[in-house]
Symmetry: C2
Subunit: 252 residues, 2 copies
DNA sequence: AGTTTTAATTGACGCAGATCAAGAAAAAAC
DNA sequence: GTTTTTTCTTGATCTGCGTCAATTAAAACT
């Protein structure tokens, strides 16, 4: 049973500092009174620990969740029994957006490490978005962003090459860290190799071997879950499929 | 240059009948006056032809588009020059939702056949969703649905098995046809084998071979783009990975 | 009509990456 | 602390599917 105290985190890890929920969900021009109104809506903001569920597939949808610190993975269950990782989420990102339509969570969300997650009841948020000007638009933006990101992942998985996928994965993380003001080249991968494999459609062993290869080739320095990107240019080249010659000029 | 007359469609094709835009975008309980108000917002509803663009990557985002008849594909350009298909859209579905956040289209949308597409200017829709009760919620639902569907696709692509992917692809189409009241087992695949391959992360040749195999095994009847699903049970079994034994009970 | 272009199918071959297996290193449990 | 469990890595083998190539069929032109 996890207690409710945030435990200190291994100093070797690259920390993910706390993000303001308001700055994430609200439009920038929000006034003080409206900010207050908004803060009153964020009911819980509780710490979770590695392995804790934020929600599970099948749960009734009531809230979306904003990540303040730590990291979360989402996955769907495949009938064969193994899970398919569908996303990794970092501070400043939202989860649960896919459950709005049918009112039921289709995926499960689990903490990858000690994290702070804020619950935002959706019906309150909906009401509020009718009264606070700009919040409605911001909600549309956030939902659209999620669609965009999943499309990006689809594009990444479209590449049949394993190197390309892992390079793309790392560069995506790098970009997302930058957006939140963290180091872009030096970070802690809180998920297991198994999770990365599932996410990228690769076997664990392939992921492991690729990390070793990238390390040996001087593209990055990796020690367990700690990664330092060394040669961004070559990583980008890998991602872009530098040696790819299978050129169908146009589809359709 | 496409003219503005809707051409008659090959009788061999399974037709995709026209859908009401209002029924797609609006909540059911909408009154007559609001319906009128909504209809006034749908500026254009023009026919497009095979190969016509609805929008292209880089275009400024102004509208979302509802498909009334026909089918559309969306894709992103990969640096290597080839395109990555990210979605196929049928009557009653919306495209352009991924462009709201940044105000720019990241993907291109192209007609797969003669189609009727309605343009819905987004700022008008936004205004309207402040005045028509329930429309805001409906918009959230539609955006959420798109996220859900992309997550589904991610799960599908997670399977390394090619059979599983094609079976999943066909079953997904079947389900979507059912939702719109069309035949669930007998349909016309307006996209090329190449497009299907790109979408599923497979080579054209593999897609072609799989169709032949499925046909020979009595799972379906296929003649060029016309497909009849014969044995749904076995297709579902394939999709569920019936012979899959790689069972990691839990991720994380 | 005929000609060109594009799409689809099928076969042969090879390789990237899955799978199997075994050992090492952490992490978790006690 | 020790033991157990899980995760990660590395090697050896095998195979599914990508790639290349050639044929056929169907659109899309003129």
């Amino acid at each position: 049973m996890p207690n409710n105290k945030i435990v200190s985190i291994d100093s070797k890890k690259v920390r993910c500092e706390v993000c303001s929920v308001a700055s994430l969900v609200l439009p920038e021009f929000l006034g003080g009174k409206e900010l207050e109104l908004f803060e009153s809506v964020v009911t819980h903001c509780c710490p979770v620990h590695r392995g804790d569920y934020i929600f599970q597939a099948g749960d009734t949808f009531r809230s979306i969740f904003a990540i303040k610190s730590g990291s979360i993975k989402t996955y769907t269950r495949k009938k064969a029994g193994n899970n398919q990782i569908t996303g990794f989420y970092l501070p400043g990102e939202l989860i649960g957006l896919d459950a709005i339509e049918e009112g039921v969570h289709h995926s499960s969300a689990k903490a990858l490490e000690t994290a702070a997650v804020c619950e935002i009841p959706f019906d309150h948020l909906e009401e509020l978005s009718s009264t606070i000007p700009g919040l409605q638009r911001q909600m549309y933006r956030l939902l659209s962003k999620e669609i965009f990101q999943e499309t990006n992942l689809l594009t990444l998985l479209g590449s049949k090459n394993a190197e390309e996928r892992l390079a793309g994965f790392l560069l995506d993380f790098s970009n997302r860290f930058i957006k939140r003001g963290f180091s872009a080249t030096d970070f802690y991968l809180s998920m297991s190799r198994n999770d990365i494999g599932s996410y990228l459609g690769l076997a664990v062993e392939t992921v492991s071997r690729l990390f070793t290869r990238f390390h040996d080739d001087g593209l990055l320095h990796v020690e367990r879950k700690h990664v330092q990107l060394k040669d961004m240019d070559r990583l980008k080249l890998l991602f872009n499929g530098g040696d790819n010659q299978s050129d169908q000029k146009q589809h359709g």
